[in-house]
Subunit: 353 residues, 2 copies
């Protein structure tokens, strides 16, 4: 997968993503304008709509969640417009989680720019995250469609709980050992990724179907589809975190290895019976403190690849993409939208950033 | 008011507060137990249920919001049980806001103990705040009573937006001048306090009435009642922040003056035409940096008192308590509960901590 040349975004998909973004952005901007001026500007910065000095910019981010919501409404036969309130809510929740996660993880960069806390300070970043979350709920609470609002609020509340659980698990992994009985297992890693990344993508797709009037079993199936897409997406993130091109990802080379992050390629090798484990462990983490040379990190990346960690992770991404596609086929009413959504799953698995 | 001897809590009110706390705490604890272990312990610390080392404690906090919700259900003729889901939600939101506000304000102490961020670090404090908020929404979304859930979620979402607005306004006051055209006015201060403190107390009372099955106009009236109580509560907080007994408030003497906080007693003097203003300004903030001696702070407190800032703030608290009582009289069906709620307003205005 990531070994193949980057296929880019097919023009049909790119058109669809552009369409979804253009459909949802006005409502998203209207929502953000309801924040008080002091934090509204910071919220606009977090969406990539402005620089710190106020210069307007094109928005950043892939718009994956809003597209998932809109396409999920379409594949169940509803209008794309029916999903807008849900798309706005999930994009706001995603923005909230990025702002707060960057504080917790101490990540200084996001999409080639300063993280919000780095640009504006921790206090304002905490508050703007809270504001984005409050706005997500308030937007949904104000949305038309009283008959689906209750279920929509429940879906969003549940995704939030999962997001927090996933982040708590991820943070707890930092203090766990690489090997031995307390090492993080592949199963625990999948639980974490399912909660941290899968839940909100599942919520986006499920909300699209729900607001599009689909029956409960279709809503549940598309939620599941989004979760598989999320797990595939996270697996590819893990591949890019080791083997991604820094010029494209915007992160330093071997970034996840440098930061001692417990990601799927590493965990799958270290919790397996690979003969490479002891040597890998020495390269990754001689004593939990010493900075490693780029040469050591490069050697570690090679070892992980040789020991099958890259193949394992690529296979995991492919398996989840396959499951997502099966669900799309099973529930699709609008086959043009289903084709686009299938292309989106391929893109998520083949992306280079 | 604060000049009068502290009246303590009347036994009828104390019994009622104890009853409300005992009614709501099991459901609140059940909710908190649904957080993942990593942050569940921190959440329990934030409620004062345990120390950092795990020693169990009696809960801290006044339980004002949960009591407001329960008593508001009772005064409209409903059972206290009907308000429990709402009481749990508002207590969780209150806990969320305290944890995050202490980060933003850099406050190291809360209820005579370390603030959460001080005890556990900023990252975990951000996450536990997010978790408490997610839990509030999820608890309400899971609650029985589908016919009121939609309105309850809307009320909570709206209160959250106001909380964030109020905190943003409060933070923006820090960088505003004490005097001149850009000085914070009494009206701006009231807007901020209404959003930061009033909205959640209004939400607590309104939710109690809503879940108790009251008609919309009664829900709106009790929301308004809670807002007045919140404004009275904030005014008394401002009095205690200057003239409170450190042994009782748990904060240093003249704390708000020391921290250069723009509170109602000071704002009312400096934006009025008091001859004391220039001298007060010099004592409060010679250049925005220099630490002031305790003697200077004491002199400033005297000046504010002499210039009428204390009377103005006491009168404001009394006016809001009066409005709250009028509303209670107007809507009460259960007069025993109305009597207790009236005692609660008196307690809020006469408290010493």
């Amino acid at each position: 997968m990531s070994a193949a040349p980057d296929v880019g975004t097919p023009s049909n998909l790119q058109d669809a993503l552009d369409y979804c973004r253009q459909l949802v952005t006005p409502a998203l901007r209207d929502a953000v304008h309801r924040l008080p001026a002091e934090i509204g500007e910071i919220a606009e910065f977090s969406f990539g709509w402005r620089d710190v000095d106020g210069t307007p910019r094109e928005g950043g981010g892939k718009g994956l969640r809003l597209a998932l919501a809109v396409l999920s409404a379409q594949i169940v036969g509803a209008s794309p417009q029916s999903a807008v309130a849900g798309a706005v809510a999930v994009e706001l929740i995603h923005a909230f989680s990025l702002v707060h996660d960057d504080i917790m993880d101490g990540d200084e960069q996001r999409r080639h720019r300063d993280a919000v806390w780095k640009a504006y300070g921790i206090g304002p970043a905490v508050l703007v995250g809270d504001g984005l979350l409050a706005l997500a709920l308030d937007s949904l609470a104000r949305s038309a469609g009283a008959e689906t609002r209750d279920a929509a609020m429940a879906a969003v509340s549940n995704a939030l709980i999962e997001l927090v659980n996933g982040q708590a698990q991820d943070l707890s992994f930092e203090t766990r050992p690489w090997t031995g009985p307390r090492a993080v297992t592949v199963e625990e890693y999948s639980d974490m990724a399912g909660a941290k990344t899968g839940a909100l993508l599942g919520c986006a797709a499920g909300l699209g179907a729900l607001l599009g009037g689909a029956p409960t079993e279709v809503v549940v199936a598309l939620d599941e589809m989004g979760r598989h897409l999320g797990l595939a997406f996270q697996a590819v993130d893990d591949l890019l975190g080791i083997w991604g091109d820094p010029a494209v990802t915007g992160k330093p080379v071997f970034n996840d290895l440098r930061q001692r992050k417990k990601t799927l390629p590493v965990i799958s090798v270290l919790t397996g019976s690979s003969a490479a484990s002891p040597r890998l462990l020495t390269l990754l983490d001689p004593d939990g403190r010493t900075p490693r040379s780029e040469q050591d990190l490069r050697a570690a990346a090679h070892l992980i690849d040789d020991a099958g960690g890259r193949d394992f992770t690529e296979a995991s991404a492919e398996r989840h993409v396959g499951r997502a596609r099966e669900i799309i086929s099973a529930v699709a009413v609008n086959h043009a939208a289903a084709f686009t959504l299938t292309e989106l799953t391929a893109f998520a698995a083949n992306r280079s950033h």
